[in-house]
């Protein structure tokens, strides 16, 4: 995984660019990593990997988004925005370098895993780059807004 900060920044930029509900896109960008709940069980020496693993698949994440969306007044809209966040998460994760394996994109239809194997997950320059892009994006959009306001 890239770290959560990179995921949330990607969700924030995507939401801002597409002019959709940023708050839900950001939440969506973290949904696949609900799989990290297993770390809590690992600490208790309980192996729950097989049970929680589907959360880090598109099908599992979309089902989580579907369940959460019913807690919002506009269910379809909420589901769509959460799904956009989920998509940004898997796009970023798709580029991670591993010795083998990857993301089970077609689970439960297929257990095959796919990955581009390009970027190491411990590469902190990705986070620094993401923060830089976010700051540049923030100041550009703020400037545009104030220019429009002054006209």
């Amino acid at each position: 995984m890239p770290d959560w900060l990179t995921h949330t920044i990607a969700g924030w930029i995507t939401g801002k660019t597409a002019k959709i509900d940023v708050s839900l896109v950001i939440i969506g960008s973290l949904i696949p990593d609900l799989v990290k709940i297993e770390l809590v069980f690992n600490a208790l020496k309980i192996n729950t990997h097989a049970f929680f693993a589907p959360l880090h698949t598109p099908a599992g994440s979309l089902l989580v988004a579907g369940s959460i969306a019913f807690l919002f007044p506009k269910v379809r809209e909420a589901f769509l925005f959460l799904s956009v966040g989920i998509a940004t998460h898997f796009i970023l994760d798709f580029f991670l370098l591993h010795t083998s394996g990857g993301i089970k994109l077609l689970f439960p239809l297929s257990w095959n895993e796919w990955q581009i194997h390009a970027i190491r997950s411990d590469n902190y320059w990705v986070t620094i780059f993401a923060v830089g892009i976010a700051l540049a994006f923030y100041f550009v959009t703020k400037q545009k807004f104030s220019l429009r306001w002054n006209q």
């Binding site: 192996n47 589907p54 019913f70 807690l71 257990w111 190491r120």
Partner: protein
């Protein structure tokens, strides 16, 4: 809300399916080491923390269940105690793997992944709670000041 519960049931079904089929389709190290004869001389992938190393081999502790020690045969790999390894190799002994591919992460770099994830929690909560509040009577989120 009723449909929400239906979708949640599908999710639980998916997770149960994964629990049942996982050992068959994508076994983890706990299952592999318990059933060593079945997986002897097959390719395995796992993560581990370096305990000790010399020019010929590395002793690691698995960072996933069952957290036991394995000896990895890998020549002239520069690692230090505490480094995190991702290894793909051939399981050719009960606690022995001949490595084919190894990714080495310095211990501090691995820990930094978790540390730099922490700011994401207040970041996400700020954007979410700025817009939404939960109505416990209706059991639904509502837009603030709507």
């Amino acid at each position: 809300m009723k449909w929400g519960m239906v979708i949640l049931s599908f999710l639980l079904a998916l997770m149960l399916y994964s629990s049942i089929e996982h050992n068959e389709k994508d076994p983890d190290m706990e299952y592999i080491l318990k059933n060593f004869e079945e997986f002897n001389n097959t390719k395995v992938t796992f993560g581990g923390k370096v305990i000790s190393a010399d020019n010929e081999s590395i002793k690691i502790n698995l960072i996933e269940p069952p957290y036991t020690s394995l000896i990895i045969k890998a020549k002239n790999l520069s690692v230090a105690r505490g480094d995190i390894l991702e290894i793909t190799g051939i399981l050719d002994g009960k606690e022995h793997v001949t490595a084919e591919k190894i990714i080495v992460s310095k211990g501090w770099k691995y820990d930094l992944i978790f540390i730099r994830s922490l700011p994401a929690i207040p970041f996400a909560l700020y954007f979410f709670l700025r817009k939404w509040k939960f109505n416990f009577k209706k059991f639904v989120f509502e837009v603030k000041n709507a």
